[in-house]
């Protein structure tokens, strides 16, 4: 046995063990995505699974080849000759085209889903504004008129910490809350703003993530499909309290939602606007 060739065997074994661990823990879903609770979320999960299968096959095949070659062609005797071999054009073309075509298919399905997720929200979608600030989320509902009042940080004052425009009549009946309640199975379109720094509106269970950017409004719409209470962690570093910036989303029946909303004070009562 040539010096060091035992390490070829060891390497082959180590690679096989590592691949085995990966295949078992991931294939058997020991730790997995939170149960999905939105319609587009199911699409994301399906794409995730397809990509996992495709990359999983490559992961296993390449590692098997690596382990096999390292074991099989380790230097064992002084007589052994390496095979002088420069290139193989047809093989190279195949292993350029196969990844290219595979990736193209993944791009195709991925971007199709991407455009569907970011399509215009349905007309009946309930608008809600998500406002990020260090280190909390606030939510603005349109109230009886169905229109969200204007938001801009320049309206923020001690009396009006929310940043709604008191001059905008649409804002008067708006409702501002610290919890996000949404009705089950109804499209919700979130308009996302920030008062201060970047934040990211992340609802893991609903597969929603969209940054809150000061100076612009971002948008994400979704249809919740499971009732429950879900965490809304901030997913973009926003300062010392980033890790405690967590809101809650409650998905409930339409009746429960309406009852909850009716109990919330309006913007004009909260900041004491007189008419």
């Amino acid at each position: 046995m040539q010096a060091g060739s035992v390490h070829g065997v060891l390497f082959a074994v180590a690679v096989l063990v590592l691949v085995g661990i990966g295949v078992v823990t991931i294939g058997d879903q020991w730790w997995w995505l939170p149960p999905v609770a939105s319609i587009h979320g199911a699409t994301i999960d399906a794409l995730f699974t397809v990509t996992l299968v495709v990359t999983g096959i490559v992961f296993i095949l390449v590692h098997l080849l690596l382990a096999y070659f390292v074991w099989r062609y380790r230097a064992r005797s002084p007589q052994q000759q390496a095979y002088f071999y420069l290139e193989n054009r047809p093989l190279e073309v195949v292993y350029t085209l196969v990844p290219a075509l595979t990736l193209t298919s993944l791009i195709a399905v991925g971007t199709r889903a991407w455009f569907r997720i970011h399509s215009s929200p349905p007309a009946e979608a309930m608008p809600v504004r998500v406002i990020g600030e260090q280190f909390a989320w606030r939510f603005q509902y349109p109230g009886a008129d169905g229109t969200l009042g204007r938001f801009h940080p320049r309206f923020i004052s001690e009396e009006n910490p929310f940043g709604l425009d008191p001059e905008d009549p649409a804002s008067h009946d708006d409702i501002i809350t610290t919890e996000l309640h949404v009705p089950l199975n109804r499209p919700v379109v979130a308009y996302i703003n920030s008062k201060d720094v970047l934040h990211s509106f992340f609802v893991p269970a609903l597969r929603v993530k969209q940054d809150a950017v000061p100076g612009m409004t971002t948008r994400f719409w979704f249809i919740p499909t499971q009732t429950g209470t879900y965490d809304i962690p901030c997913a973009e570093l926003c300062g010392q309290g980033h890790y405690i910036m967590r809101g809650q989303m409650v998905v409930e029946s339409n009746a429960a939602f309406e009852a909850w909303l009716a109990q919330q004070p309006t913007f004009s009562t909260m900041v004491g606007l007189s008419h």
Binding site: S5, A14, T25, W31, W32, P34, I44, L47, F48, V54, V58, F59, V62, H63, L66, F69, V70, Y73, R74, A75, A82, Y83, F84, Y85, L86, E87, E92, P99, L103, L106, G110, T111, W114, F115, H152, P153, R154, G163, S194, D196, V197, L198, S200, F202, P204, K209, Q210, V213, P214, G215, Y230, P233, A235, E236, L237, G239, Q240, G241, H242, Y243
Partner: protein
């Protein structure tokens, strides 16, 4: 073609200690200076990662030993949240720029480009020296920021404004962030000086017969990485200057009417996304600056230890060039959920997944090189095949993140941390280790200990997987990154804490294993087995110079190159390697399989690959 300077025209060999070892213009000394400085920065970055693991693993628990060593960062024995963010920011910054970029381009670029091209030194030795000293200055500024009021920068290595633009936004956003930006700007000045040198040297100072298509893949990779750096770093320089203006002169490049700490900032018309574009215009090419040189190093070491020509040399060169080009048009994949236009996201998806193709080709070519070889497994080879494994693992997860639909869920979770640490912290670092073990005998004339080296490899290989593979699971569960603690998040499974503990134990073992490497370095410098000129029986030019090479590298006569770098196990040859300097009359060549080779190419110009086409 510029004519090669002779021994007389290259700068004189200095005689004083200061000129020889400190303010040296010799590329080999500068390479060692870069490697030592970058290595120290890497060690600091590693210790920072240990500190970060503490609150994640033992939330709220007092760790008296650590608190005693770093009293400024701990309160009541617990790492403070602002200190956590500062450590996280500085860890990323140090590792990406001050360790990996510096050691790969400054260290290996300096060492290998002149030696493997057959030059006496860099094209501009004085600028080369300046590049190192400016780099050192940037290191000192960056480290100084750890000791200022408010602590070091805490806005992440990506330094997104407004967090990095407004002092009140986060503790480190005061003087710490200013110093961070200045240090980065100074670092970029240094890297531009280095890059100009590397590019000019490769283009103009190749020795007679060294056509571009005879260059070893290390030089190709370093050459393209240097071009990427030269073109991409200035964007970050501009971005940093604009951010300094926003911070100190009241401009509004990145700001628009925000309220921080009850204070209304009347800035108007800026947008934080501008910074993200400028940052990632460098930031993404940067990761290819960090992975191309390891790819080159690994190609070299695999061919040498398989005793076979690198499989599909030309495909390797073309994929390096393709990666270099494509790396400039993929940056938007960091911004899929940032609010960037959705059509732009779709375009970046296309380019991002296309760049996976040349990476895949390279992987298959390494496998093709191993196939039917006669594989030896010295430590450099173990790290090289370890690189192939981790590069595949880390590369494949990029296919998830490059898909904007899947990225909605995985963006800014531990899945991303797992992905880039397996590519950067593992693969790229394996490239560094492979390179150090392989070229140590050339640098110092002694071999490193194989026993210690192999132990170091095994602990590091298994340890790195132990640290970063479980982070995928945390990412699946939706665990956000850059969090000081996860106590509030109900959706995370309770056993995440067990995974965190496993990761931390792996991190401490792997980190401690690096002590073996340091010990090996020091021990081998004095006690290592004396190395002959060509201990690996390799073909490239540096092995034709003595170990270590003298000032000017080649003595009286410049080497003349007659063949490519990969004539291993050529049928009919007298031994299984043929150095590039061996004339074709003496030994056959496999360089141009499809065309007969006539006379040796006596012009060193890039146009000389007439048979290769």
């Amino acid at each position: 073609m510029a004519t090669q300077p002779t021994a007389a025209t290259v700068h004189q060999e200095p005689t004083s200690f200061w000129r020889r070892y400190i303010f040296s213009m010799d590329h080999k000394v500068i390479a060692i200076q870069y490697m030592i400085t970058a290595g120290l920065m890497g060690i600091i970055g590693l210790v920072m990662s240990w500190l970060m693991r503490m609150p994640l693993t033992w939330p709220g628990e007092s760790i008296p030993i650590a608190a005693k060593i770093f009293p400024g960062l701990f309160e009541g024995g617990v790492l403070r949240p602002d200190a956590y963010l500062a450590m996280m920011t500085m860890h990323g910054t140090l590792m990406v720029f001050f360790f990996l970029t510096a050691i790969l381009l400054g260290g290996f670029g300096n060492l290998l480009i002149p030696l493997q091209c057959g030059a006496r030194d860099m094209a501009f030795p004085f600028v080369n020296m300046l590049s190192y000293w400016v780099f050192l200055l940037s290191c000192l500024i960056m480290l100084a920021s750890l000791f200022v009021t408010g602590g070091a920068a805490a806005a992440g290595w990506t330094a997104y404004p407004p967090l990095s633009a407004v002092a009140a936004a986060v503790p480190g956003s005061g003087l710490g962030q200013t110093l961070w930006l200045i240090a980065m700007a100074v670092f970029i000045v240094s890297s531009v000086m280095g890059g100009l040198n590397y590019i000019t040297t490769v283009l103009n100072l190749r020795t007679q017969g060294m056509s571009m298509m005879r260059l070893p893949l290390t030089v190709w990779a370093l050459f393209v990485a240097a071009i990427i750096g030269l073109l991409a770093f200035p964007a970050l320089f501009a971005g940093a200057v604009l951010l300094l203006l926003d911070r100190h002169l009241g401009t509004s490049f990145y700001l628009d009417h925000i309220v921080v700490g009850g204070q209304h900032l009347a800035r108007e018309g800026g947008n934080p996304l501008l910074w993200q574009h400028l940052f990632w215009f460098l930031g993404h090419p940067e990761v290819y600056i960090l992975i191309l040189p390891p790819m080159g190093i690994v190609s070299e070491i695999i061919a040498n230890n398989a005793r076979k020509p690198i499989f599909a040399y030309r495909a390797m060169v073309y994929s390096i060039i393709a990666i270099g080009f494509l790396s400039f048009i993929v940056w938007g994949h960091h911004m899929f959920v940032s609010g960037m236009n959705i059509w732009l996201s779709a375009a970046f998806t296309l380019t991002t997944l296309i760049i996976a193709v040349p990476s895949a080709v390279k992987t298959f070519n390494w496998l093709g090189t191993l196939w039917r070889g006669k594989l030896r497994f010295p430590t450099p080879m173990l790290f090289a095949i370890g690189f192939v494994s981790t590069f595949v693992t880390g590369g494949l997860t990029g296919i998830f993140l490059g898909n904007p639909t899947i990225d909605i869920q995985l963006h800014d979770t531990y899945f991303v941390v797992a992905h880039f640490h397996i590519v950067m912290a593992t693969s790229a670092v394996f490239g560094v280790f492979a390179g150090v073990y392989y070229w140590f005998p050339k640098m110092f004339g002694r071999l490193m200990s194989e026993r210690l080296g192999k132990l170091h490899f095994w602990l590091t290989f298994l340890g790195m997987y132990g640290i970063f593979f479980p982070m995928h699971y945390l990412g699946f569960m939706g665990m956000p990154r850059r969090y000081y603690g996860f106590g509030l998040l109900q959706y995370l499974a309770p056993d995440t804490q067990a995974i965190q503990l496993f990761i931390t134990i792996s991190a401490f073992i792997t980190g401690a294993a690096q002590l073996l490497f340091l010990y090996n370095l020091v021990w081998s410098l004095w006690r290592g087995k004396r190395a002959e000129a060509n201990p690996w029986q390799a073909n490239t030019l540096e092995w034709q110079a003595p170990s270590p090479p003298p000032h000017g590298n080649w003595g009286e006569h410049m080497p003349v190159v007659y063949r490519w770098a990969y004539d291993y196990s050529v049928p009919g040859a007298s031994q299984d390697f043929i150095p590039q300097t061996v004339p074709l009359e003496q030994e056959p060549t496999g360089e141009h399989r499809r065309a007969a080779v006539a006379a040796p190419e006596l012009s060193g110009n890039g146009e000389a690959h007439r048979n290769g086409g």
